[in-house]
């Protein structure tokens, strides 16, 4: 799972001017034809840099995203739910592995990525900086956060970088179970006792704000992404993805008789777009920069795991071990 609300660095287009114009034209023509870029192909430095940043953020989101859900495995109601949630969390960690490998093909090692996550230099999806108080929160994540992630990942799977697309195809195929599982859990809460219904309503009330943040800042204020769209790094604008998500899932939430805590939320029948209260982008920035309810805990858990696993990695290491950049 993952949010499209990744933050791209301010793009200095002047670095493009320094690229070899002939190679740049060939590169752009290849993308225009719908061909994939492979690791050994020439690529502009800006393309490499932004892709590393994006794939790495995605990988970190998978790993960190496993934490708020993983915490519910032991407390999931019943054996079946436990086994499903365990399989789902294992998938998320597996997705992290696939994505780290894809980012590695661009020249950043896994150690560097993990170090940058722990030091706070690299980001991950903002939504995981919020706590999962109850089982219903875990259900909200499995159903709706994953749904949002799928909207984003399906778009990105049509991007231009071969290894990333291949990883995403695999990830999207696995995510379909997460989505169905999440919806199944929510249907059971919704059709259960009043207490179960209240639990899920409270989860919606807690998670709606971060969910609206999930796809990233509004197009009006987000960084200049025209070149990233042309290079098929970014495949859809933040607002378009948010709109697609609302279109697919708000009716499903309403159908179950729940309410969404935004009195301005409605679909404009003329434009076909959803209208909503503008999310608080100052809070989004504040949380992504470290000041959210769970930022410290998420990174500490990851850091302690890394420190405690050190002796295992050292014990496993063989004299002939040598790092090689993955092939594809």
């Amino acid at each position: 799972m993952y949010g499209g609300g990744n933050t791209f660095e301010g793009i200095k287009t002047d670095s493009i001017a320094q690229e070899d114009p002939i190679r740049l034209a060939e590169f752009e023509a290849r993308i225009e034809r719908g061909e994939k870029i492979e690791p050994t192909d020439w690529m502009p430095a800006l393309y490499r840099k932004q892709l590393i940043r994006m794939i790495e953020q995605h990988a970190h989101s998978e790993i960190i995203g496993a934490l708020p859900e993983g915490t519910w495995i032991t407390r999931a109601p019943g054996f079946k739910r436990k086994i499903s949630l365990m399989a789902k969390v294992q998938d998320e960690v597996g997705h992290g592995q696939l994505l780290y490998s894809a980012a590695e093909t661009l020249g950043k090692t896994r150690e560097e990525m993990i170090d940058d996550l722990i030091s706070g230099k690299s980001k991950y999806s903002n939504i995981f900086n919020y706590p999962a108080f109850t089982w219903a929160d875990s259900c909200f994540i499995s159903w709706l956060v994953d749904a949002g992630a799928i909207v984003n990942q399906l778009a990105n799977a049509k991007g231009s970088y071969g290894p990333y697309c291949r990883a995403l195809d695999r990830i999207c195929a696995e995510e379909s179970f997460h989505l169905k599982y999440g919806h199944h859990c929510v249907i059971y809460l919704a059709t259960g006792t009043q207490k179960q219904r209240d639990m899920f309503q409270e989860a919606i009330n807690r998670w709606w704000k971060p969910m609206m943040h999930f796809f990233g800042p509004s197009d009006k204020i987000s960084a200049h992404t025209e070149v990233l769209m042309r290079w098929k790094v970014k495949m859809s604008s933040n607002d378009d993805m948010r709109n697609q998500f609302l279109d697919m899932y708000v009716p499903k939430i309403w159908e179950l008789g729940f309410t969404i805590p935004d009195e301005n939320l409605k679909k404009n029948t003329e434009t076909g777009r959803w209208e909503y209260t503008e999310p608080d982008w100052e809070e989004f920035k504040r949380v992504i920069n470290g000041d959210g309810p769970c930022n410290k805990e998420r990174l500490e858990v990851r850091r302690i795991a890394e420190e405690r696993g050190r002796w295992v990695r050292q014990a496993l290491k063989k004299a002939q071990t040598q790092y090689t950049v993955p092939l594809a």
Partner: protein, 203 residues
């Protein structure tokens, strides 16, 4: 650290918060390429990589990373360093055109596995085995045997003895895959329950 999760609260204090002690080189170990056979009779295809200290560990991790889903009857792994790679070619040119015919014939031959990339963005697929004395010779042999009118963008050659194959006894690793319905979207049918609820709700 005060967490909602009691297990997090029980974590020992290690190092300093926010700081990671410097890593030794190769902390994440080496890389190994993973190939999977989806069905009996189908060719092996490249799936991706795992990090591992050796080929045995790579095999175990590959099984976990790449074959939790979908059908798999066999997989194998080899060290990334042992994959010989041809240049990647452009639009219509064939990678085999860049490979020169073998001039010398080695007397000591071993077998090499050959893989083709037939479409950019897709994965390398196993096409067969050749006997050769060196990777270069293996590519030249492959040109004789496997080159046809299809454009091949990229060729890989791996010495058969560098590969860690699935043994016959290990084939049952994947026998339980079809039983693991809880990993399958189709196992989560909530439709009837939802329909019944909606009928009650709208009545």
């Amino acid at each position: 650290m005060k967490s909602l999760d009691p297990r997090v609260n029980r974590l020992p204090v290690v190092g300093k918060p926010g700081e990671i002690s410097p890593k030794v080189p190769l902390d994440q170990l080496g890389t190994f390429e993973v190939f999977v056979q989806p069905k009996e009779g189908k060719p092996f295809q490249h799936e991706g990589i795992v990090h591992a200290p050796d080929v045995e560990m790579a095999f175990v991790l590959a099984k976990e990373t790449f074959t939790r889903r979908f059908t798999c009857v066999s997989l194998y792994v080899c060290d990334t360093r042992n994959v010989y790679v041809s240049p990647l070619t452009e639009a219509t040119s064939n990678a085999y055109d860049l490979i020169s015919e073998a001039t010398e014939k080695s007397t000591h031959k071993t077998s090499y596995e050959i893989y083709h990339l037939l479409k950019r963005g897709k994965q390398h697929v196993h096409v067969g085995t050749v006997q050769a004395g060196s990777p270069q010779e293996a590519m030249a042999e492959a040109k004789k045997v496997f080159k046809n009118d299809k454009t091949v963008y990229n060729i890989w050659a791996v010495k058969t003895s560098d590969i860690r194959f699935t043994t016959d006894e290990e084939k049952d690793l994947w026998l339980t895959l079809p039983e693991k319905k809880f990993r399958d979207a189709s196992a989560y049918k909530g439709g009837d329950k939802l329909k019944e609820f909606l009928e009650r709700h709208n009545a």
